[in-house]
Each structure stands twice: as C-alpha cells, then as structure tokens.
C-alpha cells in the first residue's frame, strides 16, 4: 500500500488542482459546527474538526431529490407521462470524511444496490465518488466505532486515508480510484519508510482512546420475536418525542418517501428522506397503522439496525458507531444502552422476573 507525504503547499495546490476534475466536498465551519460543502474556488477543507453535525450521506443521497418530471398539459404529447431527469454524475470527491461515515456507504449500498433492483440515483452518485478519509487521532465520548465494524483508522469504504501528524499530512492510497485522485492532485512524494510504523502506533493509540463500546455478538442468536416482545421497549421509548433527529443525522438511515409536486401544468416526482419515527410512515389509507404507538416505532428503529439488518445481510450491524444519534437526541436515548439490552436479553430470565413479582 502506497504512503504519500503531503506538505502544506502541495496540499493547498493539490486540492485546487483536483477541482478541475472533481466536484470536491469537504468539511467547512458553519456557525458552531462543521458541515460538508461543495468547495468553491480557492476554498480548502477544514481538517481541524471532530466530525460534522450531519453525516455526508446527503452528498450521495440528497434529502430531496427529483426523480421524474411530468406535464399535466393536455395539449402536450407527453401529457401525464413520467420522464426521467438527466442522471449523469460527474466525478465527485469527499475530502476529510471520517472512517465511521465512510463505512456507512458500503452498509447503505446493500439496500440500494441489490441483485434484483438497482437504485440508479444512489448507485450513479456513489460510483462517481472518491472517498478521501481522515483518520481520527482523538475520540468523542460518544464514539464506539471500534465495536461497530470500523475504527479511528478504519479503511472500509475509503479510497484514500489521510493521517494528520502534527503539521505533517500523510495519504494512504487504498484503491485505484484513490490513486487516480492523488495523481490528479499531484501528490506523489512517497513517505519515508519509518512513517508506516509511526502510523501503526498512532492507530493503536487512537483505538485505545475509544472509551465506549457495544456488544453485538449475541444479536444473531436471538429470535426476532423474542427481542420484539422483550419487556423493555415501552420503558426505553418513554421519553422519545418521535422528532426523527436520530434518523436524519444517522449516516446509515436510508428510508425515503416519494411525493409529487405540481406547479401549474408541470410537476416533479421527488423522493425525500423519511423517518420510521413518524406515524405517517406506515399509516394505511384505511386508517390502520401497524406501528401506531410511539414505542412500536422506536422498537422498529433499533430492531432494524441491530436485528433485522444483522439477520438479512450477515454483515454486522446497521450502525457505524459515530454517536450522532446519542449526541443530538433531545431526550438522551442511547443506542449503546439499547444494543446491550438486546444483546444480553434472556427471555427466560425475564419470564422468571415477571412471575416472581
């Protein structure tokens, strides 16, 4: 694996050079937080940040996305016929994405790119994108990536991993896509051989700085109905206000709604992020709602991430341990606590407890 050293000047110049071949996105400080933005000319990504408030999922999967257009003009030949919007994606690069967020894309891909159906909108955007990650040297108290399938120096989902060591910046080239990005930036100076072992040390230090974790090893062994019928859901959901913040900030939440909007005699069919926290998400036209109660919706969110996904894909949990849902939940619901409850749930022990009380 190639390791490149990038000095301050070649960083600045390199980012600028890549903008002629890529639409380059990077973290930029907005008010109190960092957000991923399309970088303008001579604008640089601000790598001095912990993580963005919103995940970078919207770069591949916009919160609102036009799918089709239509005409309601009876005099037009294409009256009431859906027409595809142009969906040609020019190359994009996301600079400074954290390893946890990078892992979310291969996770979400399992939903959008299936043997039977390919979501052309998501796939084209994903395939056009080069993911240039930034390793985390320090962790937040809410980070638990090391027990969620990645780590502060995790590489899954990345084409390049950047490692910042004081004023020095190194780039580990992971894929040919990453190689192409580095060469378009003109980053070619190979790092001295001692750097590799230095990075290994940094990685070990960073990993040991992750203070929290989840246990997921037993999730697969539980039956769905045992977990579904577990007695703790109502209590865990008690404080929830169904605001949906957890689903919007989550890099692995992928659910969407489809809506038509008509302006005069023409309109668009668009899709918008949706949330399993909202009653309308599953509300039948008849009035019946299979997840009518708040706790049923809270249960759906955690069962999806920590049981249904686990069973369906046999590839870990649908969570990357970024901790956003914990930090931004207005009522302090903590996925780590719920995951541990699910993982350690023993229906027989529970039955005894109920009988004895």
């Amino acid at each position: 694996m190639k390791l490149i050293k990038i000095d301050k000047q070649s960083w600045d110049e390199g980012i600028e050079k890549t903008k002629s071949a890529y639409r380059v996105f990077g973290p930029v400080k907005e008010k109190n937080d960092h957000e991923f933005k399309l970088l303008e000319k001579s604008e640089l990504p601000d790598l001095n940040y912990q993580n963005t408030r919103l995940s970078p999922k919207s770069i591949i999967y916009p919160q609102s996305q036009i799918m089709f257009t239509y005409s309601l003009d009876e005099n037009k030949e294409d009256f009431r016929i859906m027409k595809e919007v142009e969906n040609v994606k020019s190359p994009m690069a996301i600079i400074g994405i954290r390893p946890c967020d990078a892992l979310s894309f291969p996770i979400v891909r399992r939903n959008f790119d299936t043997p039977e159906y390919q979501d052309t909108y998501w796939i084209k955007a994903y395939e056009a994108t080069t993911f240039v990650g930034l390793a985390c040297n320090t962790a937040c108290s809410t980070c638990f990536c090391t027990s969620a399938g990645t780590g502060p120096f995790g590489e899954e989902g990345l084409d390049v991993l950047l490692i910042a060591d004081g004023d020095d910046l190194y780039a580990k080239i992971i894929t040919p896509k990453g190689e192409a990005f580095a060469s378009s930036a003109g980053w070619t100076m190979e790092a001295e051989s001692a750097v590799a072992s230095k990075i290994d040390e940094m990685k070990t230090t960073a990993e040991s700085s992750i203070a929290s974790s989840v246990a997921t090893d037993q999730l697969k062994n539980k039956t769905t109905l045992e977990l579904y019928d577990a007695p703790f859901w109502e209590q865990e959901a008690f404080a929830c206000i169904n605001c949906g913040t957890c689903t919007y900030v989550c890099p692995t939440c992928w659910c969407f709604d489809v809506q038509d909007e008509t302006y005069g005699k023409s309109g668009i069919r668009m899709r918008n992020w949706d949330s399993c926290m909202f009653p309308l998400f599953t509300h039948h036209a008849s009035g019946h709602n299979p997840r009518n109660l708040k706790y049923e919706r809270v249960r759906q969110r955690f069962m999806h991430k920590l049981k249904y996904y686990v069973d369906k894909y046999d590839n870990g949990i649908q969570c990357v341990g970024c901790g956003r849902c914990i930090r931004f939940c207005p009522v302090n619901i903590d996925i780590r606590k719920i995951c541990d409850k699910m993982n350690s749930f023993d229906p027989e022990a529970c039955a005894c407890e109920v009988t004895s009380s």
């Binding site: 299936t114 159906y117 969407f256």
Partner: protein
C-alpha cells in the same frame, strides 16, 4: 441500468363499476408501448404500482391473469387520494404502471395439489387472476380439485358477478359463493359468513391441499381456527398481505414486517412464516 421507479405509460381502455355502492371499479389498461407488455410478464399473486402524475402511486394486486393477453386489469377500492382521483378518471386517459412487483403464489409448489381459495370482500382480485389461470385449458390438468369460497356483505357487493355465475355452472371447480345476508328472493347461492361456509364446504387438510386466503383481518382471524380444525398444516396456508408502500421494490423501508418487506419478499407468505414474524401488518 434500468430505472426501477419509472412507470410504463398505459391508457385506460375500460372502466367497469363492480359493486352496487360504486366503491369498487375495475380498470383495464393497455400499454402505450407494446414492448412494455412483454416486460410486464407476471404471475397470479403479484402486484403493480399504479402511478398518476401529480398524485402519486398505489400498490394494487393484479386482477387479470397472465393467460389474458393484450391488457392488464386492476380492481380498485376508492379509499385515499390516488384511488379517489382514479375513480374519477375516464376511459382513454393516460397514466402509469410499474411492475410486476412481489412474489406470486407459489405455482410450482401448487401444481398437482388441491387448491382451496378463500376470499372475502374486495380481496378477491389476485384470487380472480389465480382462478382464471388455473381454469385455462392449458393449466387445468395441472391441479386436482379446485374449491372456491368467496363471500361479500350482500349480492351487490360481490366482484366479477358474471364470471362467478359462469364458474358456478362448471363441473371442474367447486364454487361456494356466499353473502352475509340478503332479502333478494332470487339469490340462489349461500348465506353465511366465510368462516362458517369454510367449515361446511372446505375439504379436510392434508399434504396435497393448499388454502389461499385473502380477506379483511376479521375474516382471516375467524377462518384460521376453522382451517386448524380441518387439519391444515400452516405451511399449506398461503396469505397475501398489504402494508403502506412507496417504492414497491424493498428499498424505501416502510412496509417491513421484521426483516422481510411485504413488497419484495411478499406479499405472499405462508402462515408458518407469519407465525415467526412480528404482527406489524
């Protein structure tokens, strides 16, 4: 890469009002591009997303049979925004259809078996498709006895009345048409609820007999114990479910029951499968 969200344009060829209260109409669609009909190759039990630009899409079971060529049919209950608009549309109007979606009834498994079709109210659409398919001369010999128990509130609420009458005259299908009650002196079929009629008319369960049930939840709730008493194995009871859907292809995330999507992994499930799934439907 094919865009799975793009509907095929269709023209409404015919609209038939099915029930006396006018809440159910059958729409016959013809594809504007003949090649799209080839792509819409389906089997009984599958559904389509009907698309009206400006309003949205609705998932509806396909009421026509693959043995009927040149058109597809859907019977639609007027209930929400899209269906209400559709009920006001006219023959000749253009709209869209996506599909076929979901899994059909397991026809390979059903071959060589006795089939008992139990339907109630307007949940008889994919059952009509199934009956037409099985009775087709090309297919009838593939199945043993075919029993049908179909009930509605009143004679005027039955779907496909002419076809029901024609099937009732045949000797290769046992028709049990019933209504909850009627004061019509000319009513020549049965009176009574579907579970009761099932108890009286359905053949006993065995490994060679499969029941397909579609109906309102209350009918299913009371029919299930009847089938248990008749000795039906839960692997031999097939049901077709509904849930709120948008994409119809297992991506948008709302119609799941546990890890399975009603749209992509269903809508047909065996009772054995459903016994191990949350009751979120």
């Amino acid at each position: 890469m094919q865009n799975p969200y793009l509907p095929y344009p269709v023209r409404i060829d015919e609209i038939i009002t099915e029930t006396e209260d006018r809440s159910l109409k059958t729409f016959k669609f013809v594809f504007l591009n003949p090649a799209d009909e080839e792509k819409f190759t389906y089997e009984s039990g599958q559904f389509g997303e009907l698309s009206i630009p400006g309003l949205g899409e609705i998932p509806i079971g396909i009421a026509s049979s693959p043995m009927e060529k040149g058109f597809i049919k859907f019977t639609i209950f007027k209930t929400g925004k899209v269906t209400s608009y559709l009920h006001a549309m006219k023959e000749g109007d253009i709209m869209g259809v996506r599909g076929p979606l979901g899994h059909p009834f397991p026809w390979k498994t059903l071959e060589g078996k006795n089939i008992v079709i139990i339907g109630g109210g307007f949940a008889f659409t994919t059952l009509r498709s199934s009956i037409i398919s099985m009775l087709d001369p090309a297919n009838r010999s593939k199945f043993k006895d075919i029993h049908v128990i179909y009930g509605a509130r009143s004679p005027g609420m039955l779907l496909y009345k002419d076809e029901l009458a024609a099937w009732a005259k045949r000797d290769d299908i046992h028709m049990n048409i019933t209504v909850d009650g009627t004061d019509d002196p000319d009513w020549k079929y049965l009176t009574g609820f579907v579970p009761t009629v099932t108890e009286q008319k359905a053949p006993p369960g065995n490994s060679d007999t499969y029941a397909i049930i579609c109906g309102p939840p209350i009918m299913i709730k009371f029919t299930q114990p009847v089938l248990d008493n008749l000795g039906y194995n839960h692997d031999n009871i097939l049901m077709s479910l509904e849930n709120k859907m948008k994409c119809g292809i297992g991506i948008c995330g709302r119609c799941n029951i546990g890890k399975d999507f009603v749209c992509k992994d269903g809508p047909v499930f065996t009772l054995s499968q459903l016994n191990n799934m949350p009751k979120e439907y």
